[in-house]
Subunit: 713 residues, 2 copies
């Protein structure tokens, strides 16, 4: 890897260990370079079969060719295919082809990637600055470029284990009673669940770090009561601080000059949920320290997880935009003879005054060890640095404790200290399909702990869509059902009884697999290898390059979600070897069959999902319970198709930070001898492993099941 430095870039924090040597203003091998007044343009000639990957949270597929993309974090409520930016920016791409290359442009302002849109064979990157770092990888395996990028940017965030449980959200459960009701419903109905969310309405007048005392009379007691029943309560945190005299966050921020300013140094004002607000300047360490400390108000009441929202930062409008609109309103209203066309123009203005680029260009920030800088140039850092404030705080004050933290906005590097969700999707089948690709794309840049709002946030969900999305969700590390105000409720019991029963089975499947899914998460994080991979990550067959609606989870699993309405089956391609097909209806029914490599059309009615276990690999499951901390079944089931030798490594950690300290390991090797199996078991830190019994359900090539029992000594 080589680092090319252009101009005098600020430190974005994306990279944890800078290379010692850098090349200043040099030509980047393979890229034609053109400097204009404000931009640097890089051009790369794509071969016909080159595949371009990367960019993390973006529209389009896994192969990014044929589209334009812009890194400029945007609060965007309609994820239609014309959108060029979403909430996060990860300006890193890998070109897989005759010569593999990777390029990471560490610049947190706008970069335009034209990947064969204008000209089918040209990749053109327009960096709207002359100050940035470029990291270049060449002449290595393309997969290793991803790993090297993750090492460079500090690895992968690992949340606490309970955060792998099912989570229920809605904008909003308005008060303590409604949350309690939701919680009891889960327990009554026997549906496992680990977390319930508070959206913006828990706050007093949308003031961040406040709680409405009428609707949540004794918050600490309430949190404890939920915790006793196995639920974590996760409040939303927005960055905009309401301008209100006497409000402690506002007063402290004002007094200490913690807010972003305008060009003249006056605190910048933006309207968001609370009305007029100031935006904390997270580029400054003192501000981050202050902000991180504010979470204490919740932590001391027992809160262990947060979601940071609106941190692109979203701006409904500013006084400037409002004044412009008012000026035009006044002109329009004063003039009876106004041309109709002006009304249309006014309509467009008033439609587009959200999240205005002009506003972002009017904000100034004051980072540590650096000149005052226009926000526009570090725009994509805002959410990442907000999450960093929390992360630094808890690492300092709770060095052994792991918190759940995930964010809407992100930037390269923030994957080492926070997860993300994919923002305001809709209850559309197309968005279920998109979330498959998002899982792959976000995992490729290290956001293992990420996921879409299951069932869709905006628009009205229906039973079949929810169930298909839950089925995908079993393999999404962040497994959260979330819906917007004014849309149909999509808690699992809001539909018919059949839907409820199917959803219970799906969620119980997740919990039965949870120790194994979590173990794989830890293992892949420790290797800096994407947990969720496209098929072509490990299977070189040309065919695999085409497949973006199946994915590999970790070592053993191939997942092929159904994402079409009224479907009772789907086409599945299985690469390379035999696979054990589990058409799951419930975790208890583990009747499996052997499929050969190649194309298959497989039945998959609404109450089933397709899970494939790779030949000569194993997975583990156990009886699901109501919530993660409760899970202490003493039997672990190990299953797989073993035709020669297979091994499995189940990791169980102490739930402390960092994740890998003092980890327990259960390592099993299975060797096939004719019709029998030889099983070898090794443990590390046996006392941390809960299981007493191991039950092996092993299939041979003919699909014959052999069951073996072992005690774990």
């Amino acid at each position: 890897m080589k680092l090319f430095r252009f101009g005098s870039p600020i430190d974005t924090g994306a990279v944890t260990e800078k290379p010692l040597k850098y090349l200043q203003n040099e030509e980047i091998h393979g890229f034609r370079q053109k400097k204009t007044k404000n931009f640097l343009i890089l051009r790369y000639h794509l071969e016909k079969d080159d595949v371009v990957m990367g960019l993390g949270e973006q529209m389009g597929g896994v192969n990014k060719r044929g589209r334009k993309y812009i890194t400029y974090n945007t609060d965007i409520p309609e994820h239609t295919p014309d959108k060029l930016s979403l909430y996060g920016s990860h300006p890193f791409i890998v070109i897989k082809g005759r010569s593999n290359s990777g390029i990471f442009i560490d610049y947190p302002g706008e970069i335009i990637f034209d990947i064969g849109f204008t000209d089918i064979d040209i990749l053109e990157i327009t960096i709207t600055s002359h100050d940035f770092d470029v990291y270049l990888w060449q002449n290595i395996r393309w997969q290793d470029i991803f790993t090297s990028y993750l090492e460079l940017t500090g690895g992968v965030y690992i949340p606490p284990k309970w955060a792998f449980g099912y989570q229920q959200c809605r904008w909003s459960y308005p008060d303590a009673n409604s949350v309690t009701e939701i919680a009891s419903k889960f327990r009554q109905l026997g549906i496992p669940c680990d977390a319930i969310y508070l959206d913006i309405d828990y706050m007093q007048d949308y003031k961040v770090f406040t709680i409405n005392k009428e609707r949540f009379p004794d918050f600490g007691k309430f949190v404890k009561k939920l915790a006793d029943d196995g639920f974590h309560l996760i409040p939303i945190i927005d960055p905009g601080v309401k301008i209100e005299s006497g409000y402690h966050v506002y007063e402290e921020g004002k007094k200490n000059k913690y807010f972003c300013t305008d060009a003249k140094g006056i605190n910048f004002e933006a309207t968001v949920w609370p009305g007029l607000t100031h935006l904390p300047d997270f580029s400054n360490e003192a501000v981050r320290t202050w902000w991180g400390n504010l979470y204490e108000e919740f932590i001391k009441l027992g809160i262990e997880g947060f979601w940071n929202d609106m941190n692109e930062p979203a701006i409904f409008y500013t006084n400037y935009q409002k004044a412009e609109v008012y000026k035009n309103l006044k002109e329009a209203a004063d003039n009876d003879k106004i041309e109709d066309i002006d009304l249309i123009a006014l309509q467009w203005q008033i439609r587009n005054f959200h999240n205005s680029r002009e506003d972002y260009q009017s904000i100034y920030q004051h980072p540590d060890n650096s000149e005052t800088i226009c926000h526009d140039q570090i725009h994509n850092l805002y959410g990442a640095q907000m999450a960093l404030a929390f992360s630094d705080h808890v690492q300092k004050h709770y060095p052994e404790k792991r918190f759940l933290i995930f964010s809407r906005s992100s930037y390269s590097g923030s994957q080492r200290y926070a997860g993300i969700w994919y923002g305001d999707n809709k209850s559309w089948w197309q968005h279920l399909e998109m979330s498959i690709k998002m899982l792959i794309n976000c995992n490729l840049v290290g956001y293992f702990y990420s996921g879409a709002d299951i069932g869709g946030f905006g628009d009205h969900c229906q039973a079949e869509l929810l169930l298909r999305w839950l089925q995908l969700g079993v393999f999404s590390p962040l497994f959260r059902n979330h819906s917007a105000i004014h849309t149909r409720h999509q808690e699992l019991w809001e539909f018919d009884k059949k839907t409820l029963n199917i959803s219970r089975n799906i969620i119980r499947l997740r919990y039965s697999l949870l120790p194994w899914l979590y173990s794989q998460f830890l293992e892949y994080a420790s290797m800096n290898v994407p947990l969720i991979q496209p098929l072509f990550w490990s299977f070189e067959e040309e065919r695999c390059q085409q497949i973006e609606d199946e994915f590999i989870y970790g070592t053993s699993l191939l997942i092929a979600p159904v994402y079409q309405p009224n479907a009772t089956g789907r086409n599945v391609y299985l690469p390379d070897c035999n696979w054990l097909l589990w058409q799951v209806r419930s975790w208890e029914e583990r009747k499996m069959q052997v499929l050969t490599a190649g194309d298959h059309y497989l039945d998959c009615p609404l109450d089933r999902q397709l899970v494939f276990i790779k030949e000569n690999s194993l997975i583990a499951l156990q009886e699901p319970e109501d919530h993660v901390d409760q899970i202490k079944p003493d039997t672990l089931f190990i299953t797989g198709l073993v035709t020669s030798t297979a091994s499995i490594k189940v990791l169980a950690d102490q739930g402390k930070y960092p994740a890998f300290a003092g980890m327990a390991v259960l390592e099993i090797n299975v060797e096939c001898f004719g019709n029998d199996y030889n099983i070898k078991i090794k443990t590390v830190n046996r006392e941390l492993l809960q299981w007493q019994n191991l039950i092996f359900e092993l299939y041979n090539e003919q699909g014959k099941l052999i069951v073996k029992h072992r005690k774990l000594l």
Copy 2:
């Protein structure tokens, strides 16, 4: 079929021959009926495997289960999955299942179809009126219900043969020179083309039935010059008549009271492209006669085709909406202390004042033989009756001539006198996929002559998307490339040379197949059987029910378009029998192979498309020429996989109205004897058949090609 009459419905014109007997206010067998103050609600219990089809131009798939739909014609620029109405209303559904049923609700106002959205097993139809007819089919083959519906509503519109050629459109080719340039480009580059379109900018100040004389100095000469080169010029026609003193259309309409009014009888005013307009009252025959006659201004200059746009009718806004907005603007502007929330409310108001339901409820129409009626109740007839005005005019004055006419808005029954296009789609892959389903759905309700804007209307197209869409377009009766102002140009030469060459091959394929595609159109129209069918139309295998991304064209062809970016192949399911696969690169390369029934993954690079010919059926092709009227090659190629006997019927009509009068027929029977074939040829009206030579390219089960020459006597 039974007719149930509720209240006193007006005659919508949907049905050409009313059944003699009708049941008044009776229970409809199989439907639970609930009458509320304003609505009649019909509920039907769906079995698990029931499939609901129909509704014509609507969102969703071929199987309509799991969604809501509303029949209320709407000018809608964003075809996202949340949309409940598009431009046309075809309130006819067929339930295929344990007991087949069909129901057509002849009511041209709002009807809400909840097809298993709210409750997965319930079909609920809410008719917002007490005056309507219901036609019910039960206890017959479900396919026959579609045919019976088409017979009831008068059959299928058949355009002139040249309208099957490739057509080029853009909003807008601004003047005669630019059109001439486009035309020469086609001829220079050797790309067949039959029509070029004029969008709104050809008019003087958007005044319907006027021509801007500066930009089109001698329109008649210009039309003739294009015609000499084989191009038809197709002007757009909008219903809104600009309020401008001295403008003949306005003056005539005003004098004769031809316009829709408000409740007080004052001509209704609506702002559309020309500014303030009146809307002709097409429910009245005198108005239709007048309007039909206005097309004469173009017909006498040589124009033979028109597209009717904006006829839902689209309303940008009305004086009422404008006054409401101004009132609020004024309040907002006058009051400095206005709450921010009002600005958001104002924003929503100003965003949503297009096509307001309130406006439609304020329009009144004056149909023949009927009371004055609120437009809202006959809203869905507006575009259909506008097209009827043209159709009645030309049938009366040019009884033997066929014109091209297609419309954006439509209603059940208008499929007998006009085509449709699918309105303002976008250059999105999802919309390419949607257009496959639209072709099937619109054909099911008789809009054979229909199609999407190829390449996408809104948003920016790219080369790969255009090519894949053109490939589908070969089998879309309306085969038109159209793009919007401010989007990237998508004429075929606007990309790279490779794209140009591939597109030329695709369009030449269309022209080589054109006599056969046209013949099939005639044949299926004569039978009132959908030309484009879902696979399960004729293949009963359960699997076929799942397939909505392949379709059958007529008798012999199965089409499986590639509709994913960066794809070099796709999965295809072939039902029942063997199929001859043609991986078409160009019409000249006719190397085919035999595939068995079942699942296949097939390569399909960008320069190829997948065409399948059914075992023991035949297709016909000939050398393509520059435009349809020029096509007079004397050799017809007949190809197919013949393992027992196969026949083909090629119809060639006189190009006159009606299509079937004095038709020529070439009927061929091929019988397989071991390794040889016995060919029998019959003709009707031989003098109308152009071909002298027939070349048979026959494949046997082993894929061996046997070529046979015959003279056509």
